[in-house]
Symmetry: C2
Subunit: 648 residues, 2 copies
């Protein structure tokens, strides 16, 4: 005898056999109800509500009495008043007649991930490491089955897992004791439905993972709940290798000039990552052993330097890396302190100079799912550019230097409290306004003097504003004729613009933008512009339909400023989006979704890398692109802004 | 255009295309020719001979001139005179007409393994780790393929390996440097055709592996060439855990009574194994990094104690182990010093008290391939018995104690130089003869006095001979009425038999067999006999068709002695074989054959374990079996021997 069961809000319906419990009914009808304990009646997460009434359009009369009687376990788990409102635990409730069931938001399986960039992604949360709660029948003289096989049996029966054929050595070491001390009730953390990487006593609902974007300058980490996909803690640090060299090439050189150089840089990085993980775990009230998965992204040099692989050959022609494919190595082999038996996943590398960070940007922005032509620019110490659409993608890499991240700039700094992140300059008075990270409003006279320096987004803003206000001309030179106290000769005899007076800062000196800073930014933006231009040509397209500006700035860059300084090609400003650290987003997506990892591996092979710096006319183009937009017809989208720029 | 090619001695023939080289022709026709370098013309191992003449019955005229011209590489590799005898290297020689090729013994792929026990096994040498020599095209700016992918490409093309998807982390660390320093010519050691575990510069023909039988008392190791299947070095040592307890149960107890007991015993074992491996490698002129595979067998307690898994629950009811299936753990995780990236393979466990050593005996003796009923008795500190045939096998375990290995015997010792291994006693004079390990002949007056003690086979011999000569009676008691200087009261007041006078020994005292020794052997043999009896009953059979006596005695035991003392049930003596360390044989077979590993896993699950010690009539049967054979009708096979025993 069957009964009709309807689940709302999904509307899925079907017939289930008499006596089937609601959790099983949901599974049969493809409805995802949260159930960390797998229906063992201990977690209380599978709360649902029976809707009573005559649902004529579905042809059923739903009654609370069409379900089995309330169990003791339900009384314990349900909150005050919920029983009266017909709330039940799906695992405790069997179907004895037609019912319409409402699954509240909090009981639904996670299907959405909120990215670092604030956007939401409809992806199924399906991490490679999942927790399974099992209760075993204890061993007896008549059933001397070994512990591993006993676990496998319950996993197969209860969760339909039939390929759990491996168990990490270090899990076996404490296995008999763990199982028996927990009275044969344990939570098994399984990697890829194949290998047991942790066995914890009792019910552990949430497996935790960490995603790390290993930038040359900044390392950003995200602690995520692998069950819900939520990212609860975020931390970043300076890349500790920076002591050995500001950019990638100087670090590779350091490793070549010093016998223990590679070892030192690798250890420094691992130690840094261990601190980062520990800090995040502590903030969430976890121990590092609770972290059962880790994804890493970074450029090819960071990849080799972290893995203690000699980066020498990555730094010189023909630039072939040791390996490009994604890999899963045991955390312990890398010296990373988290659950000892767990894996660390490095996303794949695309090409010698287009690393796993760019692959992460790809899976976050999905240009391969676009009909229109998308230009993705990831701004870091190296700039990586991808252009194309679902038919074909090209990528390239540009030596931008770290200027756009705030490094190699007189008062440049990491995006951190005290950094000036946004700037406006009055075109008449040339007086600036600025906003500091950590403060709600724009800085005004009388506020606490907190400014310490300028971060990447601030640098881009201030240079664009200086150009718009006529402080610098199209070649980047200061306009010496301006009559404003904001412009002066610096100690090096060259011109500089005073963004913040000493009294407004916490460092006791004027924060200025120098001629050298302007040049550094011009070099960087020109490299990006040329790279984009080559890829568009290669694809036979004169203009992107949309532009994505990504980068670990901490704060989003002003897309108008980016275009005003000619960092990106012309595009309708409405279709330009600054998304922040998309590489971090990609690392997180790979952490919570197996499908995204597969996508990354596929895309790393599909994207075609173009070496642009060796093009014969590169030098000429690069020199031309140094100037700020002045051939106005090239930038119709910002014509109205360019028109207002005062002429000398 | 095709040519007929015939390979002798296999007689395989077929048509190959013009210009195909002989190595490829052999592959096409299913003929196995040695070729460690994979046809790269550097190893000289694929030597073959062209037979000239009119082979009418095959319809071909074979001529040396039907092959391509001799190459420079062949002149270098072929020995003096071989060119004249039409020897060629198969990889250098292409077919241009009909030929009959003879493949000499040394060029044929290995198909036979010589076991420790002296017997030969026709198994295909197909180890899980194999070496593949490859020559890569160096990376260029036009081909920036990464190193791993480049290796995979050549492996797929040259060796048809398409699933080499993994590379161990520690192999990647030095990969770029290794490959380039070796001018892109390397040997890749691959585990299970899936994972790269070593990359060595240049051509390395032979991968090496070690098989270890971890006995409670003795640990025996075998170094094997994984290409040829040959075992070149053998070494054994006392189990270093013996300091913590003579037998399994006392070691388990030690681990329970001492906080660091398990850790200490595990470390002692690993250290011992590391020394054993190092010693064998050095003897063969290898480094431990050359060892790319290791198989381990041992009883369940040894398994847990070596792996640092708490053995507490293995020692008490219900005796469920942590896991029974075979496992592959990385050597480095266990602290075993060999090639860092390689795996250690533990053969599967059958049941709590029937360990991987017994599974090894199974795959060495193959009772599951017999039509007749086979009884396999593996004598160690624990005795394991298997009985049955291809239809069904039962197993059990008997607490024999280490007496049959020479331990717990007044003058017992390990099978080593100086141990008395064989004994005869004159039934009239009661005077003994004995043979010492390391000496060619039986000991005689005037020989160098080398005897130090008695090993397992000697103990079995001397007790049986004492019974046959009437020195002890059917109950094991000394016959006090005998008038011989060989029998005296020992220091403990009990009777003893002088096997060797002090002047004949290197220890300066008489080597005697005491009443206590006789009792210890009686307990052990009774346990084995009862175990066999239960299994035969279970299988509904009164008598085995053949008996295999296995054990790490070092020397083979005398099967007649074993039956005379009633250690084994009645069986035609021609069908009783003492085979030595069959567990070691099994470990070696698993080392050189993937198929044998699979067989082990299957058999471990198929054999049904019977707990005999809990049978209600066990005590009674055990007591009965203590006596030496006297109910003569029970042992018709040795009736003629029993008839001659002097009656008191």
């Amino acid at each position: 005898m069957g009964h009709t069961v309807i689940f709302q809000p999904s509307g899925r319906r079907g017939t289930v056999e008499d006596g089937v419990n609601l959790l099983e009914a949901a599974r049969q009808l493809g409805v995802d109800i949260e159930s960390p304990c797998g229906g063992a009646r201990v977690c209380g997460k599978c709360k649902v509500r029976v809707e009573e009434g005559d649902f004529e359009k579905f042809g059923i009369i739903s009654k609370a009495s069409n379900l089995s009687a309330l169990m003791e376990e339900e009384r314990e788990e349900l909150e005050k008043g919920e029983v009266e409102k017909n709330y039940r635990l799906a695992c405790c409730t069997s179907v004895q007649g037609d019912v319409l069931i409402f699954v509240p938001e909090e009981s639904r399986g996670a299907q959405q991930v909120i990215l670092e960039t604030g956007r939401e992604r409809d992806i199924s949360v399906d991490p490679i490491v999942k927790n399974y709660y099992i209760e075993m029948v204890p061993a007896t003289l008549d059933d001397q089955t070994d512990d591993f096989m006993r676990m496998k049996g319950v996993l197969a029966e209860k969760y339909d897992l039939h390929n759990v054929d491996y168990i990490d050595y270090f899990v076996t070491v404490n296995l008999p004791e763990t199982i028996r001390a927990a009275d044969w009730k344990v939570t098994v953390s399984i990697w890829d439905d194949k290998e047991i990487v942790k066995v914890s006593p009792g019910l552990v609902e949430d497996p935790w993972g960490v995603a790390i974007d290993v930038g040359s300058t900044t390392v950003a980490g995200y602690l995520c709940n692998l069950r819900t996909g939520e990212s609860t803690v975020k931390k970043s640090m300076m890349n500790p290798q920076i002591t050995y060299g500001e950019d990638v090439l100087s670090r590779i050189t350091y490793s070549m000039m010093n016998d223990d150089g590679l070892e030192k840089m690798s250890s420094a990085m691992i130690e840094g990552i261990n601190n980062l993980i520990k800090g995040m775990a502590e903030e969430a009230g976890l121990s590092v052993e609770d972290i059962v998965d880790l994804t890493l992204v970074g450029n090819t040099a960071m990849h080799h330097l972290l893995l203690n692989i000699d980066p020498k050959y990555v730094g010189r022609a023909p630039f072939a890396p040791a390996f490009k494919c994604s890999v899963d190595f045991k955390a312990r082999d890398l010296g990373i302190k988290m659950n000892k038996a767990s894996y660390v996943h490095w996303l794949p590398i695309e090409a010698g100079f287009v690393g796993a960070d760019n692959v992460a940007v790809l899976i976050a922005e999905e240009p391969y799912n676009q009909d229109g032509m998308m230009l993705v620019i990831d701004i870091g110490t190296n700039g990586e550019i991808v252009f194309g659409n679902r038919e074909k993608l090209f990528s390239t890499s540009c030596a931008t230097g770290p200027a756009l991240e705030g490094a190699q700039i007189r008062f440049g700094m990491r995006a951190a409290p005290g950094a000036i992140e946004w700037v406006k300059i009055d075109p008449e008075t040339k007086e600036p306004k600025f906003k500091i990270i950590g403060e709600e409003d724009w800085f005004k006279e009388g506020d606490e003097p907190l400014a310490k320096g300028i971060c990447g987004s601030g640098i881009i803003d201030v240079i664009a504003e200086m150009f718009k206000a006529g402080v610098i001309d199209k070649t980047g030179r200061f306009n010496k004729k301006l009559d404003t106290p904001r412009i002066r000769h610096g100690e090096d005899g060259k011109m500089e613009y005073i963004l913040s007076y000493a009294r407004e800062t916490s460092i006791g000196k004027d924060i200025t933008v120098t001629q050298g800073d302007v040049r550094a930014i011009q070099l960087a933006k020109s490299a990006l512009y040329c790279g984009a231009e080559y890829l568009m040509e290669k694809r036979g397209v004169s203009k992107p339909d949309q532009i994505v500006l990504a980068g670990a700035f901490g704060s989003y860059i002003n897309k108008e400023s980016a275009m005003v300084m000619g960092m990106v090609p012309n595009c309708n400003l409405d279709n330009v989006n600054a998304v922040g650290n998309a590489a971090g987003d990609g690392a997180k997506l790979a952490l919570v979704s197996k499908a995204k990892r597969a996508e990354a591996q596929k895309m790393a092979l599909d994207v075609e890398f173009i070496e642009t710096a060796t093009e014969p006319d590169f030098q000429e183009r690069f020199a031309n692109a140094m100037a700020f937009p002045h051939r106005k017809h090239e930038f119709p989208s910002i014509q109205h802004i360019l028109d207002k720029i005062p002429q000398k």
